[in-house]
Symmetry: C2
Subunit: 276 residues, 2 copies
């Protein structure tokens, strides 16, 4: 598979690129962003995956999360996938939290979603393989994300400890099987048998499988979506199961990119320490 | 005058706010953004003015320029004004580079612009006075900006050395009287007598008045608008007049916020050193 370069901007000595490519998993063209730090000019570098939240494309974090400065300093690439398949032939819903822009990083098994909504396979297998083939990257991966993307990061890492080496999340949807950010979508994408949902719930997955290394989670104490995110479920499970890691409740911070941007440096450093 | 708070987000320990207020200069409501660093909780802090470029509102730089991180470290507030008056009763033009979003930081003297397009007075006098009255700020000001905003920063500082103490610019429109980013707008806003234009041309003003301190200018070598910006006129004048300062031509960088973001830390540090 080859990538079509859509844009390229110099950033902190490296290059912020946007690519498009045909996706087998999603059955449509997909767009993603890739930051390559200056170190990538001298040889392959480790990769940090950043999964975005509801309503976002590849572009929001690329312009607003401020990861490039830190990735440049630490010599990490950053890959920013889109949050769903897109296009006129792709199913959608009027709600902002279902359909296009709201893929929830699952492999849908129900109509009308199952023909395109396979973001789990897309990120873990197809795009991971494609960027390794086309970009100067080492096969060493950290993963993080914000909100729905924090959920995606945790489920992908915990289910694939052989593929991911470091893990963090910003205000993840931590327990979607018990939240209105989850029950509606998992029901639509996977059907009403709730036993099918547990593969996509960070808290349940961590309780069952643990994680091979440690986890960093930041959560704003003034987040307007705390009831939907359920950080208390994740924190309780990490403590109960004695999972190494750090959960930080950050006074005064909300759910916005100002929160992500503020702690982006800590997360990139966390991953760099574990990947380099 | 009092401000109406439109939004507030915690950012790097400080607060990114957006305010609206009625403006006498512009004859309409104006919106601007203000970043207050954590140090402002303990007492007033110096101010860095950031003037934005064509098509921008107060919001673009606030979300994409990455100034907050550095302003937080150095204890500077940042004020991000809008780039023009706005509203249904305000004159406009179909072109992106004239009318709303393109005020060029002048006081217009020609119809249909003169009733609202007074961005020079608005920033230098009205908004400067209002933020000093309403926010925990010291009466010590640096000024910078990007593109049309770099032009605004230089003309405001050079014409008001008693009001501004430090000066820098990102890819400024450096010589608008000799550029298609300038001649059209100055003609529309000020009329066809070109002697009226020289008060709004950074290169001509620096040649005539100099600047009391030193100037930092960054310019991308791969900027897609180099012919319109005319950095060579500014650089020549600074050298010819022996004006202290630094002009950096940055290999590979274009005109985007990726360029501004990359060098934002250097500019904030430059101002902090001169304001603190």
């Amino acid at each position: 598979m080859s990538f079509e370069l859509l844009s390229e901007n110099r950033s902190f000595g490296g290059s912020q690129k946007v690519f498009r490519h045909p996706s087998n998993s999603c059955g449509c063209d997909m767009t993603f962003a890739a930051y390559l730090p200056p170190q990538a000019e001298d040889g392959p570098v480790p990769v940090l995956w950043y999964l975005s939240g509801l309503t976002c494309t590849h572009e929001n974090a690329m312009t607003k999360a401020g990861l490039q400065e830190h990735a440049s300093r630490h010599g990490l690439a950053v890959i920013y996938p889109d949050t769903s398949p897109r296009g006129t032939g792709v199913a959608d819903d009027e709600a902002y939290d279902l359909g296009q822009g709201a893929g929830f990083y699952v492999n849908a098994t129900r109509d009308p979603w199952r023909s395109h909504f396979r973001m789990y396979d897309y990120v873990v297998n197809e795009l991971r393989g494609a960027v390794l083939e086309n970009l100067p990257l080492l096969d060493r991966h950290g993963i993080t994300g914000h909100s729905m993307g924090g959920h995606g990061a945790i489920i992908m890492a915990v289910r694939n400890p052989d593929l991911f080496d470091s893990l963090s999340a910003f205000a993840p949807i931590a327990n979607p099987t018990q939240s209105d950010w989850g029950r509606k979508q998992l029901s639509a994408y996977l059907g009403d048998d709730e036993t099918e949902w547990s593969d996509y719930d960070s808290t349940l997955l961590l309780e069952e499988h643990g994680w091979k290394s440690d986890i960093l989670v930041d959560q704003g104490a003034s987040d307007q979506f705390l009831d939907l995110l359920r950080p208390e479920a994740l924190a309780k499970t990490m403590a109960k199961c004695r999972l190494p890691g750090t959960v930080r409740i950050q006074r005064g911070y909300d759910h916005s990119y100002y929160f992500v941007n503020t702690f982006a440096g800590d997360h990139v450093a966390w991953h760099a320490e574990r990947l380099n």
